[in-house]
């Protein structure tokens, strides 16, 4: 029993001494490392390790990127296509909204014109077509006899005079523009206070005719309908005088007119439905 006790004591003593020594070494190393005395030693030992670690890390990342980048590219391309698709959809929406806005602006302008000229009753119509032949200046609108439109009714826009109804179907009408070669509109020059006529042509240009020689007409003079002849209501804006030709041996002055309405971009018009044109043909000798 005593011998066993002695052996145990010896082992315990050995362990205790070893533990104490190891503990002291560890504490000493910690103290030395904190105080910086071991840094050169660490540098010598760790630098090759860090270098090799960074070399390996860089190579690994390159290797990984090499194999994973195509996958990312495919994802990015897919995402890009998706975004492009969304952009094109948004662009088409913007175009649609702009068209709606443009249409709304035209309708507001027409409504404004109708409000400022309450003496007339109007039917708004959309221009749906244009005459095939380039020699004739006619347009087709989407309102006809079922909407109260009749032959001879004047047609205007918020800007001014467009023409008159030339033929009527149930749900469509043909409008003869004032630029047509057979169109003659009796007008009044606002500043000169004189009556004249504007006549269309095959090319769609409008000219001023029947202006007396003794009247002074200048470029920029405003032209309004006179109401004579009973085809159009009076005081509708037609256009402006661009130039005037005065020949001494001619009976009348003639001139070029800039119509106020842009007939190339005519989209919507107002038909004056409470104006009945008068056919004075039987009275003409």
């Amino acid at each position: 029993m005593d011998s066993k006790k002695n052996q145990m004591k010896n082992i315990f003593n050995k362990i205790s001494i070893q533990s104490i020594v190891i503990g002291l070494i560890v504490i000493g190393l910690i103290v030395l490392s904190i105080s910086g005395f071991l840094t050169p030693l660490f540098n010598v030992g760790l630098n090759p390790l860090i270098s090799s670690q960074s070399w390996l890390s860089v190579r690994f990342l390159s290797f990984k990127e090499f194999f994973t980048s195509p996958k990312d590219m495919a994802t990015l391309r897919e995402r890009n296509a998706q975004l492009e698709n969304e952009v094109s959809q948004l662009q088409s929406q913007i175009i649609q909204l702009q068209e709606n806005l443009s249409e709304a602006q035209i309708l507001y302008a027409l409504l404004d014109f109708a409000r400022t000229n309450p003496q007339h009753e109007y039917v708004a119509a959309t221009v749906i077509g244009r005459e095939i032949s380039p020699f004739l200046q006619y347009v087709i609108i989407d309102k006809g006899s079922s909407h109260g439109i009749r032959y001879g009714m004047p047609v205007v826009t918020q800007q001014g005079l467009v023409g008159r109804v030339d033929a009527v179907l149930g749900n469509a009408s043909r409008i003869q523009l004032i630029t047509d070669a057979s169109s003659i509109v009796n007008v009044r020059l606002q500043s000169a206070k004189v009556e004249a006529q504007i006549v269309g042509s095959l090319t769609g240009e409008v000219s001023l005719e029947m202006v007396p020689q003794d009247v002074s007409v200048e470029a920029g003079d405003v032209i309004l309908t006179s109401g004579l002849g009973g085809n159009y209501p009076p005081n509708v804006f037609v256009g402006q005088v661009v130039s005037i030709q005065k020949l001494e041996n001619a009976l009348f002055q003639t001139g070029n007119v800039q119509a106020i309405v842009d007939f190339t971009t005519l989209n919507a018009v107002l038909v004056i439905t409470n104006f009945q044109s008068v056919d004075i043909t039987p009275l003409i000798p």
Partner: protein, 167 residues
């Protein structure tokens, strides 16, 4: 039957395009006449009876809409059709050349006819101005458009014939 459907639909589609788009697209004061081009192409590439029938229908329709008197558009299109039939026999080995000839001659004839009708109706015009500003630009547009129209109608005609043969 399929020929009638294809020809009729092509004319219907062309009428809509012509009134809504082509007539609003000007070169100077001239515009292309897509219907005339279609008449020329079908008269050379389609079946005679089918083309004849639909050209008459379309001609009457255009004449009703148009302010021209005495069915002038119908007469113009029928003359173009007859011209196409004559050219088809003469230069059948080079159909594109035939299309050019019919388009050129057809446009000139159509404009002369329209101007003649307008003159009878008392409209005055200055010939050089009309020629430079309307007829020549219209002719150029028609000649340019005759190439795709001919190609399209040729394709339609071939496919229609193939389907009808298979049926």
């Amino acid at each position: 039957m399929l020929s009638h459907i294809i020809t009729g639909l092509s004319f219907l589609f062309t009428l809509m395009i012509q009134y809504a788009v082509i007539s609003r697209t000007n070169l100077f004061y001239g515009t292309a006449d897509l219907i005339l081009l279609l008449v020329a192409a079908w008269s050379m590439l389609g079946k005679t009876k089918v083309s004849w029938f639909w050209i008459t229908i379309v001609g009457i329709f255009v004449s009703i809409i148009s302010p021209y008197p005495v069915l002038a558009p119908l007469i113009a299109y029928l003359i173009v059709f007859i011209l196409g039939q004559i050219i088809k026999r003469g230069v059948w080995q080079t159909p594109m050349l035939g299309m050019f000839i019919v388009t050129f001659a057809g446009t000139i004839f159509q404009h002369v006819l329209y101007l003649f009708v307008l003159t009878i109706n008392g409209r005055e015009f200055f010939w050089p101005e009309v020629l430079n500003m309307i007829t020549l630009p219209s002719l150029l547009l028609n000649m340019l458009l005759s190439i795709p129209v001919h190609a399209l109608i040729q394709e339609l005609s071939i496919r229609t014939n193939m389907i009808e043969y298979e049926l």
